[in-house]
């Protein structure tokens, strides 16, 4: 495989001292120039989360690894089949050990691969030990530590009606144990966070003298603030000290980002989107909010404002009513119905078909953006995960996972992989390791090594 690296001459240094690939986007927009410069697209990692499990018999493709027929639920992915990998049969072994219940463990361990902390969040069903939040850093954040350092945003956490009720059921992404990164559920807020300082097409390119001065002032202020956290934290008890240190770290990262001169220029691929306005919490706006979030995310990736993102649809226990599909009850509620309730099985199938349509929409948008010899999708690893395998039995096998994009050629796509039940090498944690490797982060294990034997065989 060809080693991709941006040559030194395409790097500039921002005021904060971090390197920014100024003309990267422009170079990448032109395949010939990209080849001449030996430049290639950066790797990206995106997690797409949907909740409450699936209906496996309607989800699993049939056929062999390379000659397979997509299932009813996955049919919307047909246009992208050469760029996806359907992974059937993995187990989230962390779905079982206490504390927490099956939903809580499912969502809290999906990306952290670490047991939940003990705490005060109680399950309805008897016999479950109350839990706190997740017990470790999530894969997306671990990856962002490596590949998120040079972009405006280290990572982007987007949500669609995730509720953010404040316990483990709300979050997929964690900066560290007990430090969840809540999803931004309002596209308008996402827009203002990500795009407001992006120049519109043809707008002013370079900071003038006043802006340069403002950056220096900002740096003075933040340096002083960082010092004040450093001075206070050691005087506090361990719990408060950890909070203040986390706060200080976040300011440091903010400083790096803010004091980097915004250099992103508009190209054919990267165009400043329109500011959206929508009531993000209204149940029936769910599809439109989701689409807006996907549009914003695609553009944030295309403009290289971030390389790591999560898009979390609903939360564990979510009761969004899929009224546009004819559902009269909430998603989680329906997911509890027995297999003999054919109307509910049909509705859950429809909900998962709908999610596959959203996933396909997202892939299509990524694939429409050319970068060098490939597309934006090619540079990504997109992971579609779920907290459960099946809702009514709360199982963590067989997890319905789908990958898309090859991580710049690191993954062989267009495949349907099946794994035998229960074998330690079929732990979902192994998949996490493989995805991490695919986007260029080395390692043989992730999370609690007890549940990991290395990269996933055959991927």
């Amino acid at each position: 495989m060809r080693r991709f690296r941006i040559p030194r001459r395409t790097l500039l240094r921002g005021a904060g001292g971090i390197a920014i690939g100024l003309p990267l986007l422009e170079i990448m927009a032109d395949p010939q120039r990209a080849r001449a410069a030996g430049a290639t697209a950066p790797k990206r990692f995106v997690t797409f989360f949907s909740s409450a499990g699936t209906i496996h018999e309607n989800w699993v493709p049939s056929g062999s690894e390379t000659d397979f027929k997509l299932s009813r639920i996955l049919t919307p992915l047909e246009p992208h089949r050469s760029k996806v990998v359907v992974v059937d049969g993995l187990t989230n072994f962390l779905g079982t050990p206490p504390p927490g219940d099956d939903h809580m463990r499912g969502i809290g361990t999906m990306l952290t691969a670490t047991e939940l902390l003990k705490g005060e969040t109680r399950s309805g069903a008897p016999g479950f030990e109350p839990c706190g939040l997740a017990g470790g850093i999530s894969l997306d954040q671990f990856i962002a530590e490596s590949i998120g350092k040079t972009t405006k945003l280290k990572s982007l956490e987007l949500g669609v009606q995730t509720g953010n009720v404040g316990d483990v059921t709300s979050y997929t992404s964690y900066a560290a144990a007990n430090r969840p990164l809540p999803s931004e559920n309002d596209p308008k807020a996402v827009y203002s966070r990500v795009f407001t300082d992006l120049p519109a097409a043809g707008g002013p390119q370079m900071a003038d003298q006043a802006a340069t001065r403002r950056l220096a002032q900002r740096k003075s202020v933040l340096d002083s603030v960082i010092e004040s956290y450093g001075a206070l934290a050691p005087k506090l008890g361990a719990t408060d000290k950890a909070t203040l240190e986390a706060h200080q770290t976040a300011i440091r990262e903010l400083e790096m980002r803010l004091t980097a001169t915004p250099e992103t220029s508009s190209t054919a691929a990267c165009a400043k989107p329109m500011a959206p306005t929508i009531d993000a919490q209204k149940n029936d706006n769910f599809p439109m909010v989701g689409q807006l979030q996907m549009d914003l995310l695609v553009m944030a990736l295309a403009c290289d404002l971030t390389r790591v993102a999560t898009l979390q649809w609903e939360a564990a226990y979510s009761d969004v009513r899929f009224t546009w599909l004819g559902a009269d009850r909430g998603h989680h509620t329906i997911s509890h119905d027995g297999d003999n309730n054919s109307a509910s099985v049909e509705m859950l199938t429809k909900i998962n078909v709908w999610y596959a349509e959203q996933f396909a929409y997202f892939l299509q948008k990524l694939d429409a953006i050319k970068e060098g010899d490939g597309t934006l999708l090619d540079s990504c690893v997109v992971f579609w995960g779920n907290e459960l395998a099946r809702g009514n039995v709360h199982s963590h096998w067989p997890m319905p996972f789908v990958l898309a994009g090859s991580g710049g050629g690191a993954l062989k796509t267009g495949r349907f992989l099946t794994y035998p039940k229960g074998d330690p090498t079929t732990s979902h944690t192994n998949l996490l390791v493989s995805m991490m490797n695919a986007v260029g982060v080395p390692g043989q294990t992730f999370g609690n090594p007890k549940y990991c034997t290395g990269p996933l065989n055959g991927l």
Partner: protein, 572 residues
């Protein structure tokens, strides 16, 4: 899920909640010697909804037991109030910040739940820049001196001392003044004195001493001994409890004089703060969180069924409940019983027309006497019962569950896995009670639904859109009800009967006092708080369960006046 208990969690602890939690049909018998009636139940590791008896040895209440206290980050409401009082800013910048995690009773100021995220840090930074830019547009009112006369360095330093002391709620340490002067100097050198002042404000508004309430002032007499709070710390505890904002000039002066070390000075300040309109805003915010009034705003109804329900109704409902609670607590009876039995509410012309009652003739809200056989007190609030309902029908289970959880501080678990959860289909002939009949026949459901449905079904006279109805499907409504497993067991009739039960229950009073404990101290109660809780309950009872007296009593406890010198997570 966060609102439930299960038998397993409580293990061997003696509690009727075990019985309550048995939802799978195999109803556990109460432990020997235990009555099925409620009462304070055990708190396991600071669980929010329970409290009282402990599994460890009883504490000696002649000693001081402050309980744990953490550095508390300002929540959104406190941030907005604080920048209003510090800078005169009324733009509510924190409304854009991420929502706080809620405690089990819905409260938004639990120190353990106030975590920090990069998005929040970014928003603090943006808010600081914007607030500082606005502030320096009025330099004359900001500065204690004129830089042209006093000299920029002298004036800058005196600004830092004065502004810093207000913002940090205590005098600055030498290193803090020094750091802020370097910031001002950098701004002055690169641009102007005004830029330097602006940058100092930006730095202060992002500092831990501003964003967190940290208590480190006084030293313990002996290692591990409880510490009496310093005067400045007490000033902040008082102002952030009664006003959810920074201390005012009078509190700061009292703190500077060191007078807040004395109990009578604290009591005098508590009385003064309680009499200020800002205390009303604080109780309003408590009610907002405790009763989940934010849900009013997103209320949607099926207008095929509830044709009178228009998009403007939710806001009117919210105003009604706000005015009712504010009046009850501050201008009315103010005791727990009246919360449930008050024979009045507040409406304007539009809302009265919606309810179909005689009311004011303008858009202004005014007191309206209720027909007490139809509506009374908090349960008579149309908005509350409309929120606790489906879009197309009432919600007896939601209503019963809410009463159990918020008023009795009891926990009801969700149905077991595999059970079909579906409100029975609407019927042109059957009553809601008949449609929900399965719950009382099926032993799988009966365990829990027997606790919720008989409460919820007694409220059937208020329909899913919050309006009174005498009939359902042309038939008179059976509003008989029963509350099992409480300290007021037995049958009753309709909303007035339930209001009576709630009004006469000691458990309900204890429950409300627990919610206030959590709100006042920003944390759940622990085993260490038994003396504080006993004192609160006793003071509350002696006052005839008047809320205003409870608020004062909350400032007289060990939990309020002391801190532990062994912080959470251990010493650094």
């Amino acid at each position: 899920m966060r609102h439930y208990l299960s038998c397993f969690d409580l293990g061997a602890l003696v509690t009727p909640l075990c019985f309550l939690a048995a939802c799978t049909g195999s109803v556990d018998a109460p432990a020997p010697g235990q009555s099925a009636a409620g009462g304070p139940t055990s708190s396991s590791g600071g669980s929010a909804a329970t409290g009282g008896a402990t599994s460890s040895a009883p504490l000696d209440c002649s000693q001081v037991h402050p309980g744990p206290a953490r550095a508390r980050r300002l929540n959104r409401f406190e941030y907005d109030n604080t920048v209003r009082d510090l800078l005169g800013d009324t733009t509510h910048p924190a409304r854009k910040f991420p929502t706080e995690e809620r405690s089990r009773l819905g409260l938004d100021n639990d120190a353990n739940a106030l975590t920090i995220s990069p998005v929040l840090v970014e928003q603090y930074q943006q808010a600081a820049e914007s607030l500082a830019a606005t502030a320096v547009s009025q330099m004359a009112s900001l500065l204690p001196c004129a830089p042209q006369q006093a000299g920029e360095e002298a004036c800058g330093k005196s600004f830092i001392t004065a502004f810093g002391e207000k913002a940090f709620r205590r005098p600055l340490e030498a290193d803090e003044s020094e750091r802020l002067w370097r910031v001002l100097d950098a701004g002055r050198t690169s641009e102007s004195f005004t830029a330097g002042v602006r940058m100092v404000i930006e730095a202060v508004l992002q500092s831990p001493a501003f964003l967190y309430r940290v208590e480190l002032g006084a030293m313990p007499a002996a290692a591990g001994a409880p510490v009496r709070l310093s005067s400045f710390e007490m000033a902040s505890r008082l102002s952030y409890f009664f006003w959810q904002s920074m201390p005012d000039d009078a509190l700061r002066a009292a703190a500077a004089a060191g007078s807040l070390a004395q109990d009578d000075a604290i009591a005098a300040q508590a009385a003064r703060l309680l009499a200020d309109p800002r205390a009303r805003e604080m109780t309003g915010h408590f009610h907002e969180a405790w009763l989940h009034l934010d849900r009013y705003a997103t209320l949607e109804k099926d207008t095929q069924i509830f044709s009178a329900f228009t998009p403007e109704i939710p806001a009117l409902f919210a105003e009604e409940t706000r005015q009712f609670l504010d009046h009850w607590l501050w201008d009315g009876e103010g005791d727990v019983a009246s919360l449930f039995t008050a024979p009045y509410t507040f409406m304007n012309q539009k809302l009265a027309a919606y309810y179909g009652v005689t009311g004011p003739s303008s858009d202004a809200f005014a007191r309206v006497e209720l027909a007490p056989e139809q509506r009374q007190g908090l349960l008579g609030q149309g908005g509350l019962l409309a929120v606790l309902a489906k879009a197309n029908q009432t919600g007896p289970v939601q209503r019963g569950k809410f009463v159990r959880e918020q008023f009795f501080c009891q926990d009801i678990p969700p149905p077991p896995a595999g059970v079909v959860i579906k409100a029975p289909d609407l019927s042109p002939t059957l009553s809601t009670r008949e449609r929900f009949g399965q719950h009382s026949q099926d032993p799988t459901c009966q365990g829990c639904h027997g606790l919720m449905d008989p409460i919820g079904l007694s409220l059937e006279s208020i329909d899913g859109s919050g309006r009174y109805r005498g009939m359902e499907n042309g038939k008179a409504i059976d509003v008989s009800g029963e509350v099992l497993q409480t300290d007021v067991p037995g049958t009753f009739s309709g909303l007035p009967g339930l209001a009576q039960k709630l009004a006469s229950s000691a458990q309900v009073k204890t429950c409300l006092a627990r919610a206030w404990f959590q709100y006042a101290y920003g944390r759940a109660q622990t085993d260490e708080d038994s003396c504080t809780l006993a004192k609160l309950d006793q003071r509350f009872a002696a006052s005839g369960y008047k809320l205003k007296d409870l608020l004062v009593a909350l400032t007289e406890t060990d939990a309020f006046r002391y801190r532990s010198s062994t912080p959470a997570g251990g010493m650094p």
